[in-house]
Amino acid sequence: MYHHSPFYPHHLQTGEQDLDMERENDMDQNSKNSTQKPVKREKRRYRCRKRSPATIERAKTVRRDKANARERRRMNSLNDALEHLRGILPALPDEPKMTKIETLRKAQEYIASLSFQLSGGSPDSSQCCETGSCGLCSASQSLQSTPFQSPCFPQPLQYPSSYSNPPSQMYYHHHHQSPSFPHH
């Protein structure tokens, strides 16, 4: 019987009794050749297989299991992405892990403050932005309504000469030692 072979998909092997019935009918047709043609055509007309209730139940659980696995994988990828974001945000090492909503809010603040720095703000703006909203942060909010422009290098920045440590170095104790572009 072909449905016992290893090449036959496993989840269909349980429906063997239905296939047996079909094959028996087939053999009956072949033995009584002369008068059976209309019945044979009728048998071929309906495309759907007859399935026992047990088979239907099994197929349902299989589908449910696959859907569960897919949803689990999706949630895992979502949580991984959130975890990456957590690792990259500035956070004190003794703080408990940021909750979901905390990371979302902090990420938005951090991006806004970085954008503000790049658009020619003071180098200290990142510190004051971390403590909460301030005048500079609200100014950067109005900047975000315009499409982001990459930093234009010819623009001279008014940094004090003592400013040698870029703020990015403080924030990388979690993840990287040096910022790198992830290539997808």
């Binding site: 979302l104 938005q108 990388y172 910022p179």
Partner: protein, 101 residues
């Protein structure tokens, strides 16, 4: 954080409703924060049709932060280099000047 015992909590419909309401508020706050994050990510808010998906905003936010930090670092290096060059030029200028007095 237990207001009422576990058994009574499911018996009283009022408590169930308040739990539901709190969860709805929590989800609403979460989605609002996600929308705010979408607002600061470039090319995700320009009147284009589809809103960025959850996972896409998280990944793009991470990449954007990395890119901005790298840009800031490169800019600061460039600035310090330029400062050094301008200081050298100034020193050179001063050393050539004593005849002007």
């Amino acid at each position: 954080m237990e207001k009422i015992g576990i058994d009574t909590a499911f018996a009283e419909p009022g408590v169930r409703l308040s739990i539901n309401l709190r969860e709805r508020c929590r989800m609403h706050d979460l989605n609002e924060a996600l929308d705010d994050l979408r607002a600061v990510i470039p090319y995700a808010h320009g009147g284009s049709v589809r809103k960025l998906s959850k996972i896409a905003t998280l990944l793009l936010a991470k990449n954007h932060i990395i890119m901005q930090a790298k840009a800031i670092e490169e800019l600061s290096i460039l600035v310090s280099q330029l400062k050094r060059k301008s200081e050298n030029l100034e020193n050179l200028n001063k050393s050539l000047k004593p005849d002007a007095n």
